[in-house]
Symmetry: C2
Subunit: 338 residues, 2 copies
DNA sequence: GTGAAAGCGCTAACAT
DNA sequence: ATGTTAGCGCTTTCAC
């Protein structure tokens, strides 16, 4: 069933059918109805491939995700997909390993799929202008900003929270509750990723409050997973007496991993160790004690990313940067020290 | 940069370039090299859209997911995507609401995207042959089998666990631990979904062990989410004294929702109420008490689904049904009654 | 308002 | 082994 068949069946030319298909105004009401009926009857669906070919572009937007297993991303992906579909585009997603090159992946997809644009989720490196040059379509980094990096903000778009400030805020909450010996569970302190940004916020909060930093209190994991956090915390606790009263983790799942390690070694949260995190995934609201965390506006982040991308694709604007606020969800994982 | 340009630049015809592109044998080594060099130099990437158009099909496999927010599905999706990409195909995913018609969605995608095949994840209804007729490409239902439905097994493929048997096994574990008053937290008892299958397993386990069923002990939720489970359990506990010693839930996340409700009403797990579930998501291994659950082989389920689909697409086999075993993960959520 | 016809970039007969 | 050419199904001038 092609456009030709529909033309024949409704007694008009293919051009007229095409016009109807694309809601062009220059078709008589009569023809329009006739064609519409035939289309309906035959439950005809135009061949997207042919359309894309003649328009020399697709209706496809690429999504490159690093670390899909993080529940935080799942919700963002959902929002992104919904928004893309609503706008009449198609999403193709590619997940990549945590050590893979997302720019390279995006570039490959761009050519193969004739992408209109790309959303990067969970990106991490401090991209250089040269590396970005392989990308010829607009793209937006979701949940990552290069704010503390070296990249000219004209070269990319982003939607994120103010990672450093939010981490600062989280640690400050612990300090306000009387904590001074505050450990940080991070995935890395220097990889240019979100982890580093949040780690910097941690350091700044300490220093602004006159608390000396202690390298012993920085716990690095091998990755962002719950298991990575669990192992790192196990290690920490097994090798040394616990000498901190609070823990700041850069992600909810990492807090959950750490909490199990604490529990298994007889440390109670929040009695022996207060915990605060950043993310605000659904699950962490159901564990015991309920996790105190700064919730990222996941839905909004996904939507906004697509909004910006579409604006660029459809030529309404250039690169933009949006920073969204988090919202503190008070759980029961923080103890007030007196 | 099109195939014509490459042809011109390398001094051969487009057919020769096409042959090189598709690794056909009937090209002289010399031409092949020449063309390859030009392709390399120009970093030319063939237009997939045009290829798809002439081949009247794409390289795309559709994935229709209902309920992506369930972490259980996230891992399956990851496995599916990985496998599809490895095989050189492209995946396009569409999420649908829990009350949407996945067959309809699959049919639309099939036409629009000229899909080669479809994977349905989280499907639910007891499809009728008529409804399936709108699908003209092979498809496989992942984590759903119509075993207890009315559908001829020749008409579809599936990869699943033996839902009824596994539920039976879970409830039997509770019974073996001395429990007789066993509640069931399900999303529905009659919608033809996994929930119903697992509910039937629950009933059978009771009856085989001479335990009378009690409608009061069946708790229905409004959906599969953690929040749905929490609300349903809250309701149950608030309206009546708790008169059961154990709870069987059809999913890990639902167990987590229920456990919070129990906790908030002063009921302890497993002291006051033992809990067992089915799924085995990562997170439930980190909560307290660690959830006892039957783990589904997520990775294998995803891989197997794609294997079967590709076999059908590439004409190696017809519809098949694969049933995978679960694995009991003993947590600390079950108390032995004496 | 409508139709004829020229491609979009590629593959696959069919010739040579 | 290589080239020529007719489409794949659609959109879009350009005539009428």
């Amino acid at each position: 069933m092609t456009i030709k068949d529909i033309a024949r069946l409704s007694g008009v030319s293919v051009s007229t059918v095409s016009r109807v298909l694309n809601n062009r105004p220059d078709v008589s009401e009569e023809s329009r109805q006739r064609v519409r009926n035939v289309i309906e009857n035959e439950s005809y669906i135009p061949n997207n491939t042919a359309r894309d070919l003649v328009k020399t572009k697709s209706d496809t937007i690429g999504l490159v995700v690093r670390g899909i297993s993080n529940p935080f991303y799942t919700d963002v992906i959902t929002a992104i997909e919904k928004k893309i579909e609503q706008a009449g585009y198609t999403m193709v997603m590619r997940q990549i390993a945590s050590d893979a090159d997302e720019i390279q992946c995006g570039a490959e997809m761009e050519r193969e799929k004739r992408l209109l644009g790309i959303v990067f989720l969970g990106g991490c490196q401090d991209y250089t202008p040269e590396r970005l040059r392989v990308l010829n379509v607009p793209f937006v980094c979701c949940s990552y900003s290069n704010k503390y990096g070296t990249l000219d903000s004209e070269l990319y778009s982003s939607v994120s929270i103010e990672d450093q400030d939010e981490a600062y805020r989280a640690v400050d909450i612990l300090i306000k509750n009387g904590h001074k010996r505050i450990a940080a569970l991070v995935s890395s302190t220097y990889d240019g990723s979100i982890s580093q940004l949040r780690y910097q916020g941690y350091l700044k909060a300490l220093s602004d409050n006159g608390i000396e930093r202690d390298a012993e209190l920085v716990i690095e994991t091998d990755g962002f997973s719950i298991a990575d956090a669990y192992r790192a915390m196990e290690n920490k606790l097994d090798n040394k007496d616990m000498d901190f009263t609070a823990l700041f983790t850069i992600a909810d799942v990492m807090a959950m991993g750490a909490m199990r390690a604490l529990r298994e070694r007889g440390k109670r949260v929040p009695e022996d160790c207060s915990v605060i995190a950043i993310d605000g995934i659904a699950v962490s609201e159901y564990i015991h004690p309920m996790l105190s965390t700064l919730c990222q506006p996941v839905e909004e982040m996904g939507q906004k990313s697509v909004d910006i991308l579409l604006d660029m694709i459809e030529g309404r604007s250039g690169n933009r940067h949006v920073v969204l606020p988090t919202c503190f969800r008070e759980g029961a994982s923080i103890r007030k020290l007196n």
